[in-house]
């Protein structure tokens, strides 16, 4: 199903992608293969697009509670081109720099897309992180108020990017956990 034309990619393109992303050569080729398997047959990979559902159902993202946000942040006009997928893989790769990861994490967690992580966003994040039967109203409000007390430095009841970045600096786990290795190869 789908053509598995390996090395449809030209050498110069590969070099360019290596310079523009944090991915290694093997990773780029791997993603290229996966992309070709999923896209409709016969299309040149630079023109083909994937729907958000197709990307959401990749094994790497299938059980991720934030997969809809990830797809929304990295897609353009609700579809994924090959370069969009590469951009996504680059942010989640091991070699990516912390500033890039923090920037995209902020966008992913900003559910209502107003440029801040406010109470509503926090509640939605917590609901996604826990099983539905584990959550009580008290826990939710307690957690939200704790988080805002700790990280909201300017007392406006929401987290701006700087405050988010500052909070992430104290989370040594972040670089380890915000990582996706294999994209379905």
């Amino acid at each position: 199903m789908g053509q598995c034309l390996r090395y449809q990619m030209h050498w110069e393109d590969l070099e360019e992608y290596q310079a523009l992303t944090f991915l290694t050569r093997n990773e780029i080729l791997c993603i290229h293969d996966t992309f070709l398997k999923l896209c409709p047959p016969g299309k040149y990979y630079k023109e083909a697009t994937l729907t958000m559902d197709q990307v959401s159902s990749l094994p790497a993202l299938r059980v991720n509670p934030f997969r809809d946000r990830i797809c929304r942040v990295f897609s353009h006009n609700d579809v994924f081109s090959f370069e969009d997928v590469l951009g996504m893989a680059s942010v989640f790769s091991e070699q990516a720099c912390p500033s890039l990861k923090i920037e995209y994490a902020f966008r992913i967690y900003d559910f209502n897309e107003n440029g801040f992580i406010d109470e509503e966003d926090l509640q939605r994040i917590i609901l996604r992180l826990l099983n539905s039967d584990d959550v009580s109203e008290d826990l939710l409000t307690d957690l939200t108020s704790h988080v805002l007390n700790e990280s909201d430095l300017d007392n406006d009841n929401m987290l701006s990017f700087s405050e988010f970045e500052h909070a992430m600096a104290k989370a040594p786990d972040f670089m380890n956990s915000f990582r996706i290795h294999l994209w379905g190869c």
């Binding site: 440029g115 992180l129 406006d156 990017f161 040594p172 290795h181």
Partner: protein, 711 residues
Amino acid sequence: MLRQWSVQSGQAPGEPAGEELWEQEMERLCSSRVPVRTLPYAMADRRILRQLREPEGVKTSCWQRWQRRQQTAGRRLGEAAQRLAQGFGLWEGALYEIGGLFGTGIQSYFTFLRFLLLLNLLTLLLTSSFVLLPLVWLRPPDPGPALNFTLQCPGGTQPQTGVPSFQSQLWSVLTGRAFNNTYLFYGGYRVGPESSSTYSIRLAYLLSPLACLLLCFCGILWRMVKGLPQKLFLGQDYRSPLSAKVFSSWDFCIRGQEAATIKKHEISNEFKVELEEGHRFLLVQQQTRSQRACHLLTCLRVNILIGLLVVGGISAIFWATKFSQDNKEKPLFVLLQYLPSGVISLVNFLGPLMFVFLVQLENYPPNTEVNLTLVWCVVLKLASLGMFSISLGQTVLCIGRNKTSCESYGYNACDYQVCWENSVGEELYKLSIFNFLLTVAFAYLVSLPRRLLVERLSGRFWTWLDREEFLVPKNVLDIVAGQTVTWMGLFYCPLLPLLNSVFIFFTFYIKKYTLLRNSKASPRRFRASSSTFFFQLVLILGLLLATVPLGYVVSSIHSSWDCGLFANYSAPWQVVPELVALRLPPSGQRAVYYLGSHAFRFPLLILLSLVLTVCISQSQANARAIQGLRKQLKWQVQEKWHLVEDLSRLLPEPGLGDSLGPESPHSRSSRPRSFCPGFPCPGSPGPRAPRPGPLLADAACRFRFPSSTDQ
């Protein structure tokens, strides 16, 4: 991006200021030297930026092209070196699989195994290239036959009782006797007296364990520091705050549905525990002094009890080692050979169970329970190994007791006529083998049957028993103990790292099999970051524990008279002064003596203290600066809202409010506007902010604070 740009200017014809802002931003991005791939824009935008920075039409000089090639080559080399440092990409697939199924906490144990394998191989490389290869290549002449000594010993040594030949073959391999004269043990190395021109194998043999330990120390320290969060110690809180946990809890590498459910349970447990700890902390702070004293006493009570248990455990180890050494040649040596190892393993098996039971009797918060049990397990493990080496020291070297046989030669020559270093090496060799065999036995004789029984049989007992939990701390302690034994044995058994590497290699696969088939994930979360720090810390403690006996033996203990490299020296370290006198010119000798003298050590110590003082005061000043900056931030924001309220009072009509919005960020924000979707453009409406008037909610949402990403 250019498309969006024109759309932007098209949408708001009355804001030339907005377009100016884009231009400024583009100029800033083009002129900055930040690599393009670190910028948070879409690939097409990054490509345009890259072309703007280095337009293709412009002729680049040879020098620039060469420079660029060097940069790419340098970057590739850096990436390759990083991969090498992480272990040649060994086991990458297996690590990803484990991470995907169980999360990064358990994956960190297996990454740690890979790191230890690397350390052992490095040690082996160092030893073989500086000691073994020259020995094999140069083939120094054998020294003359050993001098005969007459000893006054109580009783006589009994000959070994006859055992069937096959069993004795296997037994001599397991006890190490078969390798007595090979390069595995100290006794197999023989070299003639020192001369002034040839390569000194003695010096290499002496210095390579010390160099290996130093290298391992630096490697572990470097990894430890790399894993530390950057600003952990500057803030008020020592633990990572709840906000950070909320945002970094989810392991994005998880792939299995079951693992996701388990992870969600873990996260909810962790949040509940954190909130409970927070409440408890507040309660504790409100306690009166007498209540606090009471609390302290109950803390002490359980700790003293556990301390007594630990003391009891290690005395058992002491007696077992002594007994085994005193009865080395008796017929029942089957049990006695492995008695110390057996007792150590038993103590370390029963100890944690009792600690858990005792700690749970007190009403501690869950985190404290876990930490306390862990600390005591570490203490028990390291104390067992320490006591083992002290006990060996007592029997072999008469440390701390008077025995006539030790007086003439400095070691217990009656019982260890041939080679005491070999005996010590054999003990450590046996301990290493026993640990590995125990791991294998537990995996296949305990976990596997347990899983089979739990699956096949039904009944309340079997459902209660359930599969084994994969406890990361316990496994880490085991492997660290094995590594400490290897480090202890570097001087007596130089090829022990080779053995340990083989053991670690097989342990990886055995543990992976146990994890994937016979275990269930523990409901208690073990965070990857703090756990990595904890592993490295315990490893460093083990290394220090191994260094102390080595240092003592090398500097003060007389080697065996008729075996090994240091037969005629009062202590192995005496080779160094001899070689210095033999090989260096007088000025060199003076320099070396100066380096070893007090006149050098004291100024060095004073200098180091000064540097430490400067570092500490700098970090304190930084902490104060951070406090000041936080206060300034709060005042600035209050001022902002004050101005916004003033503005809303002054404006007559609500309609004008919107047009002022996009201009105001001009003076305040310098955060790069993003051209990607999922991020608001200045013209988009935002939600209602609670405090200011509803008309200016939009304007308020567009304020950005200068971020620190503009490096």
